[in-house]
Amino acid sequence: MAIELQPLEQFSIERIVPLHIGKLDISYTNSALMMTIAVVLITALVFLSTRRAALVPGRWQSVTEMLYEFVADMLDTNAGHGAEPFFPFVFTLFVFILFCNLLGLVPYSFTVTSHIIVTFALAALVFIGVTIIGIVKHGFHFLRLFVPEGVPVVLLLLLVPIELLSYFIRPFTLSIRLFANMLAGHTMLAIFGGFAASVWLAAIIPLGINIALVGLELLVAVLQAYVFAILTCLYLRDALHLH
């Protein structure tokens, strides 16, 4: 029984290339490495599969086209017309999170999205970007987003703070949802993996559970990327189609 159960060890950040500028630590870490791999893979997939684009797509071209159409459709139905200029952003966001989630499921890899700082940075980017878009597009009128229509003044005193709060909570819910799902799932995988390693012959039971869990994690990985992207679309719509 010398096997130690350390289900959280997988989330530790390690410096691969230490790099310091003054007091700032900008080392190249395993997290950055996984992000680089994700970006390289995405770029390779999109470029190579469309290099010899055919009318009747092959397998790889099909994958890219399906991804493209999926995001385009999502943006169209959720963000409405006028959101087309933001397609590249939503597509990049969705595919990046999807690849980070899926690559994290590869044994011995690292799950970038299981760190709140990464997901919060993405969510803050969306939140600040959408707010700026709304202000640029509607100016001072944008603040009317927080004032419900046809409500007595007394109730407004209560409702405006609630609306404000529910607006400013968006980046938190957006980031914590993705982060918590990935963290919990991968911890669970590691725990059952640890069980399987430590109980010898009875390992078949935790191993079976783990196989089912990997399937579930695949679903969660795709769904969370989808949820993140769809919420970005919804926020965009709020900013674009404000009355």
Binding site: V56, L145, E149, G150, L231, L234, H243
Partner: protein, 126 residues
């Protein structure tokens, strides 16, 4: 159409696709419920965390304001209840349909009149 050389390769491809689909027993993409289930799971995963985060963030904000201004219990208490309200609102919006914008404002495209928003509030006030 397929006789006499390739007059229109696209049309012939369409014919072949139709045949292949028919032999497989229907169009898999058009199976009902699939998209609905997908969206349902998406919404379910969304709202799970919404409520908790709203309360935690709001209470934390209240705590911070208290430390800053020096009104120890009140900011935390008030912001806690506002957080509960905001959490309920988010969950309600997620469940009632993603068509509802923040602030119950009508969207540009949703047609004429303030009817939908009005109706909603009338129901709530009963």
């Amino acid at each position: 159409m397929s006789e006499g050389g390739p007059p229109d390769p696209l049309a012939r491809l369409g014919e072949r696709l139709d045949k292949a689909r028919a032999s497989r027993g229907g169009d898999p993409a058009a199976s009902p419920g699939n998209a609905g289930v997908q969206q349902g799971v998406g919404i379910g995963l969304r709202i799970g965390i919404e409520f908790v985060v709203a309360i935690v963030v709001a209470t934390g904000l209240g705590w911070a304001i208290d430390s800053w201004v020096g009104t120890r219990p009140w900011g935390t208490i008030i912001l806690f209840f506002l957080g509960v309200g905001a959490g309920m609102l988010s969950v309600y919006r997620a469940v009632a349909g993603i068509k509802t914008p923040v602030g119950y404002r009508r969207l540009d495209e949703s047609g004429a009149g303030a009817k939908p928003a009005k109706d909603k509030w009338d129901e709530d006030e009963e």
